[in-house]
Symmetry: C2
Subunit: 440 residues, 2 copies
Amino acid sequence: MNRMSMINAFDPTRSDALDPTTRSLIERRLRVLGPAYRLFYEEPLHLVRGEGVWLYDANGAAYLDAYNNVASLGHAQPDVVRAISEQSATLVTHTRYLHEGILRLAERLLATMPAEMGHVMLTCTGSEANDLAYRLARTVTGNRGVIVTNLAYHGVTQAVAEFSPSLGAGVPIGNHVRVIPPPDAYHSDGDVATQFAQSVTAAAADLSAAGHGLAMFIVDSIFSSDGVYADPPGFLAPAVAAARAAGGIYVADEVQPGFGRTGAAMWGFERHGLIPDLVTMGKPMGNGYPVAALVAQPRHLEKFGRDARYFNTFGGNPVAAAAANAVLDVIEREHLIRHAAEVGAYLLKGLSELADRHPRIGDVRGAGLFVGAELVQDRASREPDRDLATQVVNGLRQRRILLSASGPGGNILKIRPPLAFQRPHADTLLSALDEVLTLG
Amino acid sequence: MNRMSMINAFDPTRSDALDPTTRSLIERRLRVLGPAYRLFYEEPLHLVRGEGVWLYDANGAAYLDAYNNVASLGHAQPDVVRAISEQSATLVTHTRYLHEGILRLAERLLATMPAEMGHVMLTCTGSEANDLAYRLARTVTGNRGVIVTNLAYHGVTQAVAEFSPSLGAGVPIGNHVRVIPPPDAYHSDGDVATQFAQSVTAAAADLSAAGHGLAMFIVDSIFSSDGVYADPPGFLAPAVAAARAAGGIYVADEVQPGFGRTGAAMWGFERHGLIPDLVTMGKPMGNGYPVAALVAQPRHLEKFGRDARYFNTFGGNPVAAAAANAVLDVIEREHLIRHAAEVGAYLLKGLSELADRHPRIGDVRGAGLFVGAELVQDRASREPDRDLATQVVNGLRQRRILLSASGPGGNILKIRPPLAFQRPHADTLLSALDEVLTLG
C-alpha cells in the first residue's frame, strides 16, 4: 500500500477502535481535505495547546514532544509570539517596499555563514527555497540533472517532488534525477566518504551520458529521511568535490539540521567543513511562522538577477522577518547550540546504555538534538525491524511521548525534540523507551 | 531592459536623487538581498505602519493605499491580528495531527463554492497552490500542456514560472505552454467570448499536434496582469468549454479576484457562471498571514490521493486556519462583498466622469474594487501611453496615493485597494488623479 509507504501513517481502514470524537474528526477530514492527507500514529492525536516541550490534547493530557522541529525553540515560545503579535498589529506588506526587518534578518543570517555566502532570498517554505535553488542551479550551470540520496525529501512542488524519492513510487522521480545510496556507516564495510563520492561521480557521469549534465547535488546535511547519518564529520566533503568536478553546484538543504540543532554549529554543513554554493532553510526559522530562505554565493545570482526577477508575496514580509529575528535572538541568548550539544550528548549516551541491555537497538547516532536509533532483528544480520519500530513509536505515543521513524526499513527512530528539551525530558524518554523495548 | 519589463519598478541607476536614508536602505538591500529583488516607484517607499486603508512611512506621512490586496480587509485588521496572536500563543503544529481550525476553514470555504467543489488542500502561497494544480492536472488528464493568457502571472516555482509569461523574456515559457491573447474588449472589434474560445481551441490543437495534449487552461478570473478584463460577465464560459472539449481541465486562479473583491460574489469565476475543476486562492486569504489553498472537485483528487500524498509543513497550520477563519468572519459581518460592489461602482462612475474631461483616459472598467483605467495617446488609435501611466503612478505616489499599472503597454492603471476603502477615499483618489492628469 502506498499509504503505508509513509512511515508512522494512520491507516484509515482501522478507525473502528478509536473514540467517537476522534473518529468524527477523521471523517470530517477525509470529507473536506480529501485523500492526499495523512495523519500520524495508529491512534491519531488531537492537539489543542503547546508550551515548551509539551503538547496537550483535547482532554488535557500532556505529551512530551521529542519530534517537532518546527517549533524548534519550544512550543509557543513567548519572544517569538510577541514579535509576531506586535508586527502583525503594526505592518504586513512585502519586499517591494523598503523595510528594516528583512535587512536586519539577512545581515544576521549572513553573519552566521562563511564569508563566501553573500545574498539571502526569502520564501515561505522549504519547498519554495529548494525549488528556487533548482531554478538557480539550472541557470548557473546550464544543466538539468540532479543527484539526491535514495530517500531524500526536499519538498512538494512539481520540480522538487521529482527529486524527492521519499514521496514514494507513486510520485516518479524525473528522468534527469539520479538517486544514490546515503552515507550509511552502519550498513557499510568501507569508508563512507569515499563510497559516497564515488556514487556522486558515477551518477554525474550517467547524467552526462544521458545529455542532462549535472546542475546540482542537493543533500540534507543530517540525512533525516534516509535514516540520520552524521558521522564522521567531514564525510560529505569528497562527495561535494566530486559534484563540483562534474560541473554541478552543491546545495546544502538545512531545513532539518539548521538553526543550531546539530549542536556543533548553526548549520549542518559546517560539521563537514564545507562552503556551499547555495543553502536552503525553512522549518525552524520562524518557530512555526511560515518563513524560509535561500542563501547564495553572489556569483550564482548574477545571471538570474539580470534575466529574471524574484517576488514572493509573503516571503520576507515584516512579520516573517520579525519572527525569524526573534528566533535568532533566542538561539543566541539561551546558547541553544551549546545546549543542543550537551543535552544531545546526554541523550545519545542514555541510548547507548539502553543498547547495552536491548540488543535490538543495533545502532545509535546523531548530532546534537538530531538523533537516530536503529532497530534491528539481530545485531549480526543488522536486518531492519520495522514491526518493532512501529510498536515502539506507537507504544511511546500511548505513553505520551512523541517521536517517529525513518529510513528505507522504517526502523530508525527519529528523535528531534524542540531545543527546550532538558536532561529530565531525556530521562523520561529513555525510561519509557526501556519499558516499551522490554515489552516489545 | 529586463528590469524595466516590470511595470513601476525602481531603477537603481537613478538613486542619486533620493534622500540619504532611503539610499542607504537600498544599498543594504542590494548588498544582502542581491540583484533579483525589485522595488516599487521612482522614489521607493519606506513603510513602517499600516491601519485600514492607510500606510505610514518612517517620517509619519500617511499614504492612501489603493493597491494592496493582501491586507485585503485593511491593514492590521484587529480581528485577524487577534486571531493570529491568540493562536500563535496557543498551538502551531501541522496537518498530521487533528485540529478543528482547518476543518472549520475547509467547511466554510466549500460552503462558498458550487456543490461540485468538495476538497480543500492548504498551501502557504498562491505559487504553491498553482504548482499543485498543475501536478493534479497532469495526473488527471495524463497530458502536459498548459494554456495561459499573454501576460499571465501564476507564480514563481520552476513549474509555474514556465507558464507565467509576465515574468518577462528572461524567464522562458515552457515548450508545453501556449499563450493566447486576453479577452480585451477595448482593443477588439468582435465578440471577445467567441474570440477567446477560438484561441483556446487553436492552442489546444497546437499542443495536441506537438504531443503534449492539454492538461489545463488556467486563468486569473479578473486578468489582473493582462490589464483587468471583467466584462461582459460570462465571456469566460465558451473558452472553458473549449478547453474541456480538448481534454483539459479548467483552473480558476482566484488569487487576485477572490474573497469578495469583485463585488459580485465571493469568487471571480462566479461572475462567469462557471464551475471550475480546480480553484486556487492566496493573497487576501489571511489578510497578510501566509496561507493559500487549492479547492478541487473530489474526482480530480482520487488518483493523486491513491498514488501520492501531500504535506505542506506550514500549510493549514492552526494559525493559518485561525487567520483565514477571521478573514471570513469579517467579510460576512461587514458585508464586504456588497461594500466592494457599492464603493467599486462609485469609483468606476467617478473615473468615467474624469474620462469625460480627460480624453487620454481611453477606457475604465472592472468589477467591484478591482478597477482598471487605460491611458492612451488618443482615443482614435487607442495606442497605449506608457509614459503617461508612469507619470500618473509616480505623481500619485508623490501625492501619497498608492496604485500601479499593468498590461502589455504598461498603461493600464490598476486600482485594487483594501476593502476598507470608502467613498471619501475614492474622492481623494479621483481628485488627485484629476490633478495629475491635468498637469500631465
